[in-house]
Amino acid sequence: MGFAVTETQRTLVENVRRFVRTEIIPLEHELDPDESELSAPVLAGLVAKTKQMGLYNLDVPEELGGVGADTVTRTLLAMEMSQHRAGLYSPCYGAFGQPDMAQLYEATDEQKERYLFPILRGEKRSFFALTEPAGGSDPARAIETRAKRDGSDWIINGNKTFISGADTADFGLVFARTGDQGSGRDGITCFIVDADTPGLTVRRVIHTLRSGHYPTELVFEDVRVPAEAVLGEIGQGFSMATERLTKNRIPYSAGCLGVAMMAHRMAVEYAGTRSVFGSKLAEHEGIQWMLVDSEIELRSAAALTLDAAERADSGRPFRTEVAIAKIVATETAGRVVDRAIQIHGGYGVTKDLPLERWYRELRIRRIGEGSTETQKMIVSRDMLKGRYTSWIDR
């Protein structure tokens, strides 16, 4: 691990920290504690400020008009952007740009004009439809949605589940098995489907422990799309889906650590002010040990996450490191927030504080974007096949 924060990165972190504390947290006093969205005019005002700061569309390559930040910088900033009530899933409510569907970087010029650029300008919303009722951990085998050729068109039939935001999206990326294009990973093609295409139904919102977020169930009944709807190459949709998911798991893990850092800071402050049995909470060894455990775990998880980011940027192998970081960051964050709740006692579980929200939302992060078990599977495969031996010799 040879990691050092540069002066530029430090300045960026400080700017984002100030933005979160002065622009975002005060807004949340007015919002419902579970809300994940701001009204359009308020969001537009925030976006104007992040554009002025030169930090809008952080993840997007420069040639497409974004900031093109490297993975380490994105990771450091993700830790900052998430440090407010809705931060885990809606960092700054999208003020730094919406999730951009990096798969569309592979699009044709015409597809970019129609779909990618409107997303980058914040004019369109999208969904990403990979998971199906038969299973999400192993989508290559589970995908039963089929697309068949009809002349130059394709006709899609099937079901998707747990698809975030499809009810408000303008279009989505839909992964479907394409007839005789091979089996498993090779038989899957990605289609760009407009949300108002006849036959595509958003059947219901799936209610989860995360209030204010809307995964949905989708039904495709003879959904006809033209040949131009194919994104990338026929039969190559799956590798396109997974390639970028791996790298994006690093800032994803960092977001978990950000809310946990904030929860930990709240716990330290509270322990220093609240008195029980004649002395401050912080003077009781039982509380001190909880705080120390959280400090140690947070530092370890942050080091692993930044190590994975640094490897990704330096062109060395990083798949195993990302999997380890994702497991450690998500599990650590859950434990740290749990301890912060315990230290706050009854107040910890009220909606007056953001802790209960993070406690619920972090639970999802051990399942989504590659569950703990599938990440362990990646690490064990790499270890047992000798692709990964020890961190020091790679």
Binding site: E35, T168, T208, R210, G212, K351
Partner: protein, 104 residues
């Protein structure tokens, strides 16, 4: 929501739980409002329904307790909008949840 409608009276609202959840209000013309009692509400569903007492005669209500009140609220508005082509009256001109859903 398929629960039976109850007349909106102080007596009927009093035993409504003070928890978070969603509710609907109807008059003789049909459903006029879909709303929720969220994490900022003082007395949850009971408090939110009490605000409707005395606003106009002949109202009725139904409710659902749910911790996922925002998603359920959004879903109810979307289903209503899909079926009737308009948002419920209480959301006319305000920031109503957008989106589409077509339950079958």
């Amino acid at each position: 929501m398929t629960k039976p409608w109850t007349a909106l009276t102080a007596e009927n609202v009093a035993p409504v739980p003070a928890s978070v959840g969603v509710f609907e209000i109807a008059d003789e013309s049909g459903l006029i409002a879909i709303d929720f009692a969220g994490g900022n509400s003082l007395f949850g569903l009971r408090g939110a329904l009490q605000e409707w007492l005395g606003t106009s005669p002949g109202l009725s209500f139904r409710y659902e307790r749910t911790n996922a009140y925002l998603s359920r609220y959004r879903e109810l508005v979307q289903v209503f909008t899909n079926e009737t082509g308009a948002v419920p009256r209480n959301l006319t001109g305000v920031d109503a949840p957008a989106g589409r859903i077509r339950p079958n």
